[in-house]
């Protein structure tokens, strides 16, 4: 079972990838074996004053995800993602969810070693 989560502005593969992680609208979770998708709404993180990235990490960790594709990840969220063993592919803004998944499957997404955004909300 290999599942990846993509930050998304909507529930389908053809929605735009949401560049934000902690405050993403939601996550499309794709099972790479069956290509079945599932949508996780992230509305709860969006109203938080702080810790949205950690909340979002909890959300996708519970969904059994092993890899995240997104735009930008801050340092605290990166620490949380690394701790639960979720790999991160970042700088994928501007793509649709489907394009990001295809790129990942083609081996063209490098896994990040560090956060690519300053600390902040």
């Amino acid at each position: 079972m290999h599942k990846i989560a993509i930050t998304s502005e909507g529930p389908s593969l053809d929605d735009q990838l949401d560049p934000r992680f902690g405050r993403a609208a939601g996550f499309v979770v794709v099972d790479l074996e069956t290509m079945a998708t599932q949508y996780l709404d992230n509305g709860q993180s969006q109203v938080m004053a702080q810790g949205a990235g950690i909340q979002a990490t909890e959300l996708i960790a519970r969904a059994g995800v092993s890899c995240l594709l997104t735009g930008f990840v801050g340092p605290k969220a990166f620490k949380a993602l690394a701790a639960v063993g979720i790999k991160v592919g970042q700088n994928l803004e501007g793509l649709t969810v489907r394009q990001a998944v295809e790129r990942f499957q083609a081996g063209q997404v490098e896994m990040a070693q560090a956060a690519n955004r300053e600390a902040g909300r």
Binding site: M48, E58, A61, K79, A80, V84
Partner: protein
């Protein structure tokens, strides 16, 4: 009586007004710098520092050998400073507000109190009174807990009597509201410019709901923007003092001098400000705080 000197934005002369008021005060007074991110009251008052103490915050330290990953601590923490995911517990001390909730709620007593240094509190004497200041460590974001500790010491130091003047952080954020919330009177320092007015208005909106007597000090008066005066009249906000726009004052300010000491006239302005502040705090019944 505690008076808080605040402003909608930085650079309006809030600190020099605080220092000037402290200098002309007619009794024992404690000058308090609660602008902990950028304390600079000491530059004006040049106090003799008599003591200091690190300001610490109690943060959770988890003994994973005892932890059952039940998640009770994480569910309770509204700041996401402690997180449980499966068989994994993470703490984010830099986000912890030190409320102690997680320590209290853990059924396994797996959490013990640890210390994280936020900054430093120092105190001493100026020519005419006491001095107290908090300074946040560089890069530290958690100012409210440090401010609480400064205020606890303020209350200790005031227990023997006397008044306090607080130099509040600029702006209308949580730390600014925190700094003025225990005061008897709020002084808003502003300058008559379009930007000055914009921020002044935000400050008024943020503080008006606290229901405390407020007054305005116009710095660099004569810069020509009249909206502030109209606004104050509309809202019944008294203008207690005007410090003219003047090169001599600007130069004195740049050299860290106290404005009230520049000329006899300015001294008079601040003496009159002081008596008006007292009237605001105690309308009609001397010796008794109106908003106690």
């Amino acid at each position: 009586m505690i008076i808080a000197v605040a402003s909608g934005k930085g650079g309006t002369g809030k600190t020099t007004v605080t220092a000037s008021l402290a200098t002309v005060w007619d009794g024992p007074v404690l000058a308090v710098d609660l602008d902990v991110e950028e304390p600079n009251l000491h530059l004006f008052l040049q106090p003799t520092i008599e003591g200091s103490a690190p300001a610490q915050l109690t943060v959770p330290v988890v003994d994973e050998a005892r932890c059952t990953y039940c998640g009770a601590c994480a569910d309770l923490c509204q700041f996401k400073a402690i997180s449980v995911m499966g068989q994994l517990l993470l703490t984010f001390p830099e986000m912890c507000h030190g409320c102690g909730g997680c320590l209290a709620v853990c059924p396994e007593q797996a959490i013990s109190p640890g210390q994280r240094e936020l900054g430093e509190i120092s105190w001493g004497k100026t020519g005419g009174g006491g001095f107290l200041s908090g300074r946040l460590r560089l890069g530290e974001a958690m100012s409210p807990p440090l401010m609480r500790q400064v205020k606890a010491r303020l209350n200790q130091m005031l227990a023997a009597g006397g008044d306090a003047i607080i130099d509040a952080p600029p702006g209308v954020s949580c730390p600014a509201v925190n700094a003025v919330i225990d005061s008897d009177v709020i002084l808003l320092v502003t300058e008559p410019t379009p930007f000055g007015f914009h921020d002044f208005r935000l400050a008024w909106e943020a503080f008006a709901s606290l229901g405390k007597p407020m007054g305005t000090v116009v710095n660099r008066a004569g810069l020509g923007h009249e909206a502030i005066y109209r606004f104050c009249e509309e809202k019944g906000l008294p203008i207690l003092a005007e410090i003219p726009y003047d090169r001599v004052i600007a130069e004195a300010y740049a050299r860290g001098r106290i404005v009230a000491e520049v000329s006899a006239e300015l001294q008079e302005t601040f003496v009159s400000l002081l008596s008006q502040v007292r009237d605001l705090a105690e309308p009609g019944c001397p010796g008794q705080a109106a908003h106690a």
